[in-house]
Every structure is written in C-alpha cells, then in structure tokens.
Amino acid sequence: MVKLSGAGLSFRYADGPLALNGVDLELSGEDVVVVCGPNGSGKSTLLNVLAGLLTPDQGSVALDGRDLAAIDLGERARLVARVPQQLRTLPDVTVGNFVMAGRYARIDRWSGPQVRDHRAVELSLAAADAADWIDRPMGALSGGQRQRVLIARALAQEASVLLIDEPTNALDPEHQLKVFDMIAGLGRNGRAALVVTHDLNLASQFATSIVLLNGGQVVARGRPGDVLRPEILQPVYGDHLHFGSLPDGRPFVLPWLSAGAAEADERLTR
C-alpha cells in the first residue's frame, strides 16, 4: 500500500497570488479523497503538485516517505497516475494504442508491448466500460467517451495512486455514476484516488473524505456528512445553496437562487 503525502504545500504562479497556501494532505490504500472548492481555489494546482508536475515553493510531496522530486520519472509513473481533464491535441491513434501509452513506463523500448501489456489494456478498457472501442480511432469518440478512455489509460498504468482532474464534466448522469463507482471500486481494491470535482453530490455519495479548498487553503475536511453542511459551505460558495438528504441519508446540495425565487413569488401575489 503506497502512501502519497503533501506537507505544508505552497505554490505561486509567476506574478500571481498564492495558489496554494500551506496545504497538508495524505492519501493511501482505500481512500477516495474528493477535492472541492470554488473556481480558482487551487484544486488543479494541488493535483499537479501532488503529481510532481509543479514543484511546490514550500513544503514537499513524499511517496512512502521518499521525496517525490527524487524519484525516477518511470518509477513515479508506475506508482502515481494522473488523469487530465482533456488533452491538448487528440492523438491520431486507435483507442487501444492510446491506452497502451499508459504502459509507457512498463514497456521495454526494444522488445515492445508484451502479452501482459495487451492484457492490461483490455482489462482497463473493460473497467472503464469502453472495451468495444479498442479498434476505433480516438477522433471518432465523443467527449464523454474520451473521458472514459483517459481513465482507462490511467488504469493501464497500474499505479497505486490515481489523481483525477474533473472526470465527469463531459459525462451524462448515468456515466457520471459509472465513473465514480469505478473510482470507488479502485479504493476497494487497495488503490487510492484523489478526485478534483465541482460535483458535491457525487462527492457525497462516493468520497471517503472531502477536502474543501478556498483561496489555496484547506477550510474543511472530513466525511461527506461533516463537510456538506450549510455552516461550512455557505462561507465558501455563498448563500444560494439548498441542502437536503438522499433516501440513504447522505446529504445533497443544489445551487438555488432562493432570493430570486422569493421576488418572483412576491410579483405573482401582487
């Protein structure tokens, strides 16, 4: 079981404000940690710092106690996988070859992909509910389908920790559930996941813990029921939220323009 931990992480983009300000975070084993927060709160920066793509100005990231920056890139890719929101350009390859890129750090340059690599690609695609597309060109997939293939590629890395950036933005509700169920399944199989998302309600259903960021700082963390509360969310997101409970007792949160609704009511009764 691999433990990824960040301690006292601060990061500032050139000429910008502090994007991260003293964030501590630990991730291991069966954790499904969901990072929430308003736009610009530092969610994606945190993910990129944990992935080793950004070097923190202060604090450090460690993988099982070893400084992440000192770990060879290949070994890092075998331990930590990152799922981007989208790619800069779509490669002109089949879905199968695209997912094979997840095996980069495991494939010998001279002997090429082996049976175990092809097997890993097939299993990963199946886990992402995308097995049928293996021979399709990437260009023929819809945005939501591409999202699932990106997740499959990270699964093919067979890393112990997955860092996932807004995985459900382009997905319909059915596939939002499927993707989060898959992520929760990783946890049950001993692989930790950190998910950045705006979707508080999926977080409520699938997260083992929620980290709420605001202005680059952790303002709350804990089980969904402890974080998704009016006194915690309203100072961060404002007052236009409606809180309720799902049939299983988990909280849900909806954006709700209550003041506007009240005015409309007033106009109707006048």
Binding site: A77, T89, V93, R109
Partner: protein, 356 residues
Amino acid sequence: MTGAVRSPKALSLALMVGLPLLFVLSLRVGASGQLDLGSALQGCLATLGSGEPLAGVQQTILELRLWRTLTTAGVGAALALSGALVQGLFRNGLAAPSVLGVTGGASLGATVAILILGGAGPALVGVADTGMATVIVPLFGFVGAVLAVALIAALAAPGGRMSVPTLLLTGIAVNTCIAGLLSLISSLMLSDWEVSRAILSWTFGTLDDRTAYHALTVWSGLALAAVAVPFVSWELDLLQGGEDDAASLGVNIRRVRVLCIAAAALSAAAAVAVAGQIAFVGLVVPHLVRLLAGRGHRALLPLSMAGGMVFLLTLELANHWLLGGSALQPGVAMSLVGGPFFVGLLLLNRREIDSW
C-alpha cells in the same frame, strides 16, 4: 479530426521500390549522356575498389553521378528527418529546421569561409588552392550551424529549463541577427564579383560536383542523428497530448528535447553544409508522410528519411531531365516547386491541417 487511422505499410512499400529505382536512374541519366545498367553497376564496383573501371571519361562521369546521387539522397533524408523532429517537438506542422538557426548559422559560416578563401583570405591563411574550398566551406557551414543552435539553446534555456515558445521566439531573434550580418557582408562585398557570386550561389544550394567528402559528411551527420530516432519516436507521440501529460506517463521531457534538438541540428547542419540552402524539404516531406501514413512518429521519422531521399532525387532527376544542361540549382527548383506545392497541400487538406 480524422475518422480513419492511416497505415504506413503502403507508403513503406512504395518507398522501398521507388528508392532503388531512382538511385539507378540517377546514375544512368545525366547531362553528359546515358549509361546502361551494366556499366553503371560496373563503375560503382570499380569506385569501391573491385573490378575494372569504365573506359576513359565514363568512369569519371559515373563517379561524379554516384557522389551527386549519394549526396542528394543524404541531403533529402537529413533535411526531412530534421523537419519531422522539429515539427514533432514543437507540436507545430509549420516548424522547420531553420527555426533552430541551422540554416542561418550554416550560411554565416559558409559565407565567412568564402570570405577567407576569396578576398584577402587565401593569402592570409595560406590556402590559395581552390580545392580546399570543397572542405572548408562545408566545414565552416557545419560549425556555424552548430554554434547558432548552441547560442539559441543557451539563450532560450538559461537555467536548463526550456519552454518551446521561448525557443521559437529566440530562434526568430537570432535568425534576424544572422540575416543582418549576412546582408552586411554581402553589401560590403558587392564590389568583389567573385566573392559575391560565391556567396549568392551558396544560398541557391548545389548538388553538382559533389565529392566523396560531401557524401560522407552528410551521411555521417544523418547516421548520428538517426541514432536518436528510437529514443524519441514514442515519446514524441506522447508529447502531442501536452508536456504535462507525457511527463505524468513517465516521459523524460528534458531528455527528449535535448535529443530531438541535437539530432535535428546535426542532420540539418550536415545537409546545409554540403548542399547550401535547400528550403521546403524539411517542411514538405514530413507533411506528405503524415498525410499518407499517419502521425505516429515510429513510422513518421524513418519514412520521412526515405521520403526525403525519394523527394529530392525525383526533383533533381526531373530538373536534369527536363532542363538538361541549364538545370536549375536545387534551392531554386525546390522553392519554385515547393512553394506552390505547399500551398496546394494546405488547400487540399484544410480540414486535416486545422486539427494539427
């Protein structure tokens, strides 16, 4: 966005058939008459030191054609490989070896060599013999190219970190400085007809009167650069999704950058050093290969090399066949053919290219 993934197999096959054919044709056909296949082969063997040489002037003609053909093929391959590497690294289909300063640096080096050999130079450095020009101009061209690339790389990456836009902009800046220096030299030497002519003709490129030295230079540069190919092919594919994405898959971005720039600079420098400026090969050939065989670099890089050979050999053959003794210099022919060709390519493949 493409609906189909292209296969490189058909193109590989066509190039494997086309290349030997063009090679033999280039040996047989020329301004000084035709040779039959048997004589061409006999002459080649004699050049390698086995068997009887051809009678009289025939052997000399064949050897000239052999070195010209080998140099032409090497130059085409080196420029195309360089272009494919630079385009892959910069994720930009409009990048060419010249952005790295290779062409400008080589021109400046060659011009300085011509100055030394021409004007007051020969007396100064003790090389009055014009045969030395064969060695000294390419050598200076090569050194100039390498220095220009090193300067651009050093300016663009002071702390070892190099961003691609910075590199491109630095390349433009340094190329502008080099162009200024070249204009200065040319304008100062306007009254010296011999030197002006030499400088000007170098900018047109030439593949005639090439020697074993030229062929060896370009093929050595090409061979050294090609060593990098297996270490960057898959990596360049993964880079197309962005550097962060490739890094998170385990790609050592810095190593890929250094290898690509070194290989691209080396092969283009070797080509420009022996043949002068031949534009468009490095730009057009990788485009053609991508259109025919797809964008995967494991196929694109070797096929660009073979495609570059076929492209430049065909152009030279057509040039000599159609125009005979008044054949155009390759740089001129390439610009005349390559320019409109490239415009046509852009228009025909608008949708495709929009997605690059």
